[in-house]
């Protein structure tokens, strides 16, 4: 939870255009270690575009992306992982037919020199990660299709931790979840913060955002439209989102 003055990840005057449409117009964003920064805004405000740029899915047309104060190019999702940035998208990208451990190690399975899967080791790591996050699933071999929405979100978050990231981006993690499941996911977000990671939380739900964030950044029509402390009132943030302020 050490809060260094240098941000782990920073966007400086980032611009992204899709043809004639300006999705991001000079956006600034910073996240430090042990800090949860929420990114809020209406549909089409540019939240997901920011997530995709940070995840290496899109490259900005102008502006800088900095890690530890050094400008970097995040050219691909693999590059993002190498730089310690992990993203959980709204669709979670999990496989229904695989179990928890298989999902967590999907595409980066641990193998012996002979090429055999190191199942026990993967189970051990999975168990350990789920424990750090205090995730409640019946077993590390439970098939994903039997899990609830909240548990799936937890598995998706756990999956990002295998690469030992320093920044985790969560895109709408509580959308379509029940209250109990939302409670679990928000508790995981607090755990990530306590582990000293920087968290960017993208969400529509103002109650959830204000419950766990240290800072709330508002995007409106692809521009920064206000930065709030977590204690700011619901109304003040809403006004910045809708442009009433």
């Amino acid at each position: 939870m050490s809060r260094d003055r240098t941000p782990l990840l920073a966007l400086r005057q980032v611009v992204k255009r899709f043809g004639a449409v300006e999705a991001l117009v000079g956006v600034d964003l910073e996240v430090r270690a042990g800090e949860v920064v929420a990114l809020v805004g209406d549909n089409g405000a540019g939240k997901s575009t920011v997530a995709k740029i940070v995840a290496g899915v899109l490259t900005p047309d102008a502006g800088l992306v900095e890690i530890d104060g050094e400008p970097v190019t995040i050219g691909s999702p693999a590059a993002a992982n190498r730089l310690g940035v992990a993203t959980v998208f709204q669709d979670l990208a999990l496989s229904e037919n695989l179990d928890v451990t298989q999902n967590i190690f999907l595409g980066r399975e641990l193998r012996t020199r002979q090429g055999f899967l190191r199942d026990l080791e993967m189970e051990r790591v999975t168990r350990q990660i789920l424990q750090t996050l205090t995730v409640r699933v019946p077993s590390v071999r439970t098939p994903l299709r039997t899990l609830s929405g909240g548990q799936r979100q937890a598995v998706a978050i756990a999956r990002t931790l295998v690469g030992e990231p320093r920044v985790v981006v969560l895109d709408e993690p509580t959308a379509a979840l029940s209250v109990a499941q939302t409670a679990e996911v928000l508790t995981h977000v607090q755990r990530l913060r306590d582990m000293g990671l920087g968290v960017i939380l993208i969400s529509h739900n103002m109650t959830d955002v204000r419950a766990v964030s240290d800072r709330i950044e508002v995007l409106r029509h692809g521009r920064n439209n206000g930065s709030f402390e977590a204690t700011a009132s619901h109304e003040a943030i809403l006004a910045a989102i809708t442009g009433a302020a």
């Binding site: 939870m1 939302t182 409670a183 928000l186 306590d194 204000r210 240290d214 204690t231």
Partner: protein
């Protein structure tokens, strides 16, 4: 009252059941102590109660010896406990023996609204019941801990301004409407006191103080085994005791309350320059980890709270002071200066220094208190024919009683 054999046995039976209900589970030896009945009588009554399936007996150990633990049977239904905090909500389901079957924490935004939060409480109770595969109508009662004074009769928040956005909210009534189960609300410190005196660190005390140091400070006063509520449930609100006559205006409207110095924004402010923006949870974690700045702030809080508690303890003369709430998780960082403040009062050293201990239930005291409230407020045992029986004084209580004279 007739002195017939059967009515006497009925009263004894009720006393045993009442003691089991109050403590969740007791060994037969402990039951003898709690009811003042002979070992043989307790044994006979327990056998009868087991036959009627009101209680169950299982083997356990007490101080290394084998013992028979007497608990209420599971078929007696569930109790829900709810703790509404400034920044989080906790809901738990427990059986009649206070065993927690499911629990969930939900982080809350600062200055959360009564309507949204109570809606979420209702949904969480329903979801947790489903999670353990039970029906909502098995929940015999819901206890709610609220961080503001609550009138225990009506379950309404009484003192204006103490909890922003909750003035005059009929917590019990609103929740009852949403989940159609009996709801009982009380102040969080009072419920912490109830839990610690029923199953925690003040289990053996007749008179005790429970002090809760968190986002605000509150106390629960236990006198003769009962929590004192006072008019409108405001007894023990030591967060609104004057500590700084020239200080800031408190949200309650008075000047220089304890709450303006400990727990609130004023408490985090001194750390802003050196540590940046921290939450109360951060300060606790860091103080435990040995951060000197955070430990300093917590220790200063302990000294201020200690002075207020010393005044209260001098008036009430309790057997023990139990300290809970989030700041108590720092252990002696908070407790040492608090104890030190009590040591300075001569009357609190007679006949021996007043005992100051951390809450045995730790951060769960209020939640357990809410469960105990739900269980005690509902008639779990319709067939038992409960007759109110005065709790007899234990030996040490009789001797402690002579202390003040």
């Amino acid at each position: 009252m007739s002195g017939s054999q059967s009515s006497l046995r009925e009263a004894n039976r009720a006393a045993v059941l009442d003691a089991v209900k109050r403590h969740g589970g007791l060994t037969q030896v402990e039951l003898t102590g709690a009811t003042g009945l002979s070992a043989a009588t307790v044994s006979t009554i327990v056998k009868e109660l087991v036959a009627t399936e009101l209680v169950a007996v299982r083997s356990t150990t007490r101080s290394g010896r084998r013992a028979q633990l007497v608990t209420l049977t599971h078929r007696l239904g569930l109790a829900a406990g709810v703790e509404i905090g400034h920044r989080r909500l906790r809901v738990a389901l427990a059986d009649a023996s206070h065993d927690v079957l499911a629990e969930q924490v939900l982080p809350l935004p600062s200055e959360h609204r009564a309507d949204t939060t109570l809606d979420r409480v209702a949904l969480l109770v329903v979801e947790l019941t489903e999670r353990i595969g039970r029906e909502l109508d098995e929940v015999v009662g819901v206890g709610v801990a609220v961080p503001a004074p609550v009138d225990p009769e009506s379950g309404t928040v009484t003192a204006p301004g103490v909890l922003h956005g909750w003035d005059g909210v009929a917590v019990a009534q609103v929740l009852e409407k949403r989940i159609a189960r009996p709801v009982f609300a009380d102040n969080d410190a009072n419920l912490g006191a109830l839990a610690e005196s029923a199953v925690g660190a003040a289990k053996d005390c007749y008179d005790a103080l429970y002090v809760r140091v968190s986002h605000g400070t509150g106390a629960g006063i236990v006198l003769g085994g009962r929590v004192l509520h006072g008019v409108a449930g405001t007894a023990g609100e030591i967060g609104h005791v004057l500590v700084d006559p020239g200080g800031a205006i408190c949200r309650c409207g008075s000047r220089g309350c304890l709450d303006t110095v400990v727990g609130g924004p004023a408490f985090l402010e001194p750390l802003r320059t050196s540590h940046g923006t921290l939450t109360l949870r951060d300060v606790v974690t860091r103080a435990v980890a040995g951060d000197p700045g955070c430990a300093r702030v917590v220790a200063d809080a302990g000294a201020v709270v200690g002075r207020v508690v010393a005044d209260l303890a001098t008036s009430v003369a309790p057997q023990r002071v139990v300290v809970g709430g989030e700041l108590a998780e720092t252990g002696d960082v908070l407790l040492a200066p608090l104890r030190e403040a009590l040591r300075r009062r001569a009357l609190l050293d007679v006949p021996h220094p007043l005992d100051v201990v951390p809450a045995a239930l730790g951060p769960r005291a209020e939640l357990v208190g809410a469960i105990v409230l739900a269980l005690q407020s509902t008639d779990l045992l319709p067939s038992a024919g409960i007759v109110p029986v005065d709790r007899p004084r234990a030996e040490h209580e009789a001797s402690a009683g002579g202390r003040t004279s």
